[in-house]
Symmetry: C2
DNA sequence: ACAAAAGTGTTAGAATTACACCCATGA
DNA sequence: TCATGGGTGTAATTCTAACACTTTTGT
């Protein structure tokens, strides 16, 4: 080992803030939800926590985050990005653990959860009514929410929360749910149309008890081309 | 140790992308410069690298970043924030090292460098004409530049690159240098005046061979009050 | 026929951009 | 007196925000 003794090798973990959208069972409202795991082992056994775990040998940080999500919940994420690294000295009561946090979005078909081995159970919680969390996970979650709310305004990440094909009303409701405010339907559609990377498909909704809406999709190549040439979106 | 063997304890380092502004000796141009260290030890001995080093026992990540800056260059930073954590497997030829990168701004009076012990020498480089860097430091630096250029547009961090008291022309030139484009003097001043947190002092420049400009300062309490009530700036 | 959401334009006000000259100072 | 940057306003244009009714479809 070429390093002198005073350098530390803290344990290295990843923790994931996973967001989804869910229809409120009572009332037609939509809610922003986050995935939590009930811890099956100490410390904080029985407490709710963000899905996560230790980084393994030969595994990058991104890989560790994705693996933990699959292991603990069976999820495939539509969007994953690194959030922030938490390194206070006493964030884990066992010993020093540095945690690299991630921010993930999953679309509605993924919401069926298959809890894995080291998690007692996994559940979606409305971000406005969270239980007390283990470790410093409240701080991590707050950082994730902040990132979602700011980034969704200028990058097309919100599509990760929707199915492949979506209606403009679904798209608008997604923004309304994340930003916590109502948007004007006509102005919203004007803006979306002007962007050029939300394109109509030939399909329409099926099986709805009303006039069926046209389905749209996010055209990533079109977006990439635009953002290459220094394009700025400012959605909403 | 409560952890099973397959978990890794990579060495943990911090690396800092430190920006400053410098007057071009030839021609009145201003340049955005970044601090690099010539490595005095292997690996990459003799190569230029970002200032940084290993995190010590009992030291948070932020503390490690600040300490490294003082040790390697004698700098006191005006602004420091965490940037991104790099965890590819082979970024260090010795063994796995995970690096938490930081992004720092220093003001001009700090530009006198006092190289420390484990750095052969420290020097400022124009960001447009960088040498080849050690490790994955080019990637880290690119991330830092990207962060600076995007964040400076909506947060008042650019003041970290200026002296306490500055003229409006200095402020404008700072934005022009970072963003790489010219701004209109009258529109720029109108915008700054409308923000309300760049306030005139009683002082004017001294010792300049021309009409002296009024000095302004950044009023942090005024900014904090504004940004509390959901204010959005959109500088420039 | 009715309920429920889909779809569609215009106008007023606000914000942004383009643009040029006189002033004060020190050398 | 000259060179240098300091300081200032207006008009055209673009963008944003407010606003309501008709259409389609399934029950």
């Amino acid at each position: 080992m070429p390093f002198t003794y005073e350098f530390q090798r803290p344990a290295l973990a990843v923790d994931c803030v996973v967001f989804g959208l869910r229809e409120d069972p009572a009332g037609g409202d939509q809610r922003l939800v986050v995935l939590l795991i009930e811890r099956g082992i100490e410390p904080f056994r029985g407490h709710w926590a963000l899905p996560g775990g230790f980084v393994r040998v030969g595994e990058t940080l991104d890989q560790a985050a994705e693996r933990e999500l699959v292991e603990e919940s069976g999820l495939e994420v539509a969007y994953l990005e690194q959030l922030y690294t938490f390194g206070s000295l006493d964030r884990d009561p066992r010993e020093r653990v540095v945690s690299v946090s991630y921010f993930a979005l999953v679309n509605p078909v993924q919401h069926r959860l298959a809890p894995g081995s080291d998690a007692a159970k996994a559940e979606w919680f409305d971000v406005r009514t969270l239980p007390a969390l283990a470790f410093d996970h409240e701080e991590i979650l707050a950082k994730g929410l902040e990132r979602l709310r700011s980034k969704v305004r200028y990058r097309p990440i919100g599509f990760g929360l929707l199915p492949e094909r979506f209606t403009l009303t679904q798209l608008q409701r997604m923004y309304e749910t994340i930003l916590g405010k109502d948007l004007d339907k006509r102005n919203f559609r004007k803006k979306i149309a002007s962007l050029g990377f939300v394109v109509a498909t030939e399909e329409i909704e099926r099986g709805v008890p009303r006039r069926a809406a046209r389905l749209f999709r996010f055209d990533r190549p079109a977006y990439d081309a635009l953002s290459e040439r220094g394009f700025d979106l400012d959605l909403v």
